[in-house]
């Protein structure tokens, strides 16, 4: 079923038990909203010695947006700004590929499970919501992304 390419087991696992989810406490908190569906995410992080740390997020949304936030947190927390930026770019390109790219698994790890989302244009925003919040928060913390 076409649906299974969208809702891979790894996505549902992250959805049911999201990582890095809690009350954002950092100095710079960003709140991003998807006005089409009302989904929202609040996220904070710190940057220490050029590395992303203390990434915490909270929010409400569909399985895709929640799983994506969880996967994104695992991928960028603890990474250097440069590597996190690389993951962000690779993921954004994958989401905007309309199904034409499969993504680099070396870089994207669990996020590769979200590749199917790019074939459902209405869901791309769901997947990107937390990534855009991360980008915004990193920039507010002085990172160049």
């Amino acid at each position: 079923m076409e649906l299974d390419s969208l809702y891979q087991a790894v996505i549902l696992d992250h959805y049911k038990q999201p990582h890095h989810k809690g009350l954002p406490v950092g100095e710079f908190q960003v709140r991003h909203i998807n006005p089409n569906c009302g989904d929202e995410i609040t996220l904070s992080l710190s940057i220490e010695d050029g590395k992303v740390t203390n990434l915490i997020w909270d929010g409400v949304g569909c399985s895709i947006s929640q799983a994506s936030a969880s996967i994104m947190s695992d991928l960028v927390d603890g990474k250097s700004i440069e590597s996190a930026g690389k993951v962000l770019q690779e993921f954004t390109e994958l989401m905007q590929s309309k199904g034409s790219k499969s993504g680099d698994e070396e870089i994207l790890e669990d996020a590769i499970a979200l590749a199917g989302v790019s074939k459902f244009p209405a869901r791309v925003k769901c997947a990107l919501l937390s990534w855009m919040a991360f980008k915004d928060a990193a920039i507010q913390n002085g990172a160049e992304l």
Binding site: M1, A9, D39, C62
Partner: protein, 416 residues
Amino acid sequence: MTSTLDVSAIKRDFPIFDQEMRGGKRLVFLDSGATSQKPVQVMDAERIFYSTNNAAVHRGSYLLAERASEAFEGARARVAQFIGAGSDEIVFTKSATESLNLLAASFERSSGSLAIKAGDEIVVSELEHHANLIPWQELAKRTGAVLKWFEMNQDGSLDLSRIDQVITSKCKVVAITHQSNVLGSVPDIAPIIEAAHSVGAVFVLDGCQSTPHQPVDVKELNVDFLVFSGHKALGPTGIGVLWGRHDLLSEMEPFLYGGSMIETVTMTDSTWAEAPKRFEAGVPNMAQAVGLAAALDYLDGVGLERIHEWERHLTQYALDGLHGIEGVKVVGPQGIESRGGVISFTIEGLHPHDIGQVMDQYGVAVRTGHHCAWPLMRKLGLTGTTRASFYLYNDLGDVEVFLESVTAARDYFGKR
């Protein structure tokens, strides 16, 4: 005995059903609350206008311009007849949203009884679509008027217990929906209209969800303004209607300025044409108006009363089915009373977006999210719902596929 419609014959008039959806499924279109599908008669009317009558209305002295003007004014008369109004009371806009913005902007600019000043009160309700909320919010902010509202009960009705406090002698405008686009609930507007009139306020009825689905007569309703959109009534996009009592329209200042809406123009000043032309600046959406007239012909051909009864039949069937699915909750009115053919529901533990995605695999088109009524969602403590809305081209088979897809959505996430 419920009246029936020959839905298979009706479906044949709608080319959109002649194609396959994802997985080779047939289309089960349950999103007419957002926009309706179009019968071939409407598309033909637009095509014929463009291929035989197209010219700018009310301008040229040549044959085509005469024909175009006749077709456009004929459409105006058709709309007037549809809602029991006079032709000179029908303003064509691009959408119901524009109709409401027109009213708010015009009240701000008008003098006399319709003028909105600081301290005046504007009344809406928590049921409103953003289009019948934000124009009034902004009007209040710009003028210093006070925005007040009727609260919604959990069953989707309006709390009228404090009606005397909500509508006071300071009230100038009351703008309320005829039927909630989210819950399908039909508020009891009669006492509100009476209260508005008793303090000299005008009553604006948002008829987007009612006018395409049931007989609507503005005189019987005793309202002062009615707005509805063409595209929700089998008509083209880009055409909306504002009906207003002629004496009120005549008092009102224009919304948009330009060609067609003037009486005289000098380099420093202009005066305005009579209503409704005063509110139709520029070359109007002519083909769309003609298409809308064809849509209303189509609706009247089937019969609004029959359509309404049929939708109630489908809604009852769908409600019975939903109530029987464990984990599914109907939001708003639980039964068929005081509601139209729109049903919102939730599935325990699931996000509407995910529900809609699974239903799509069954060819079922539903709306998910906050339905442009965010305050209503907050009031219910929800981030969103899944909404099915019915129209004359739906049948019991559609409802059965719908119910099957709801169960499938629940199980898809539950089992995995």
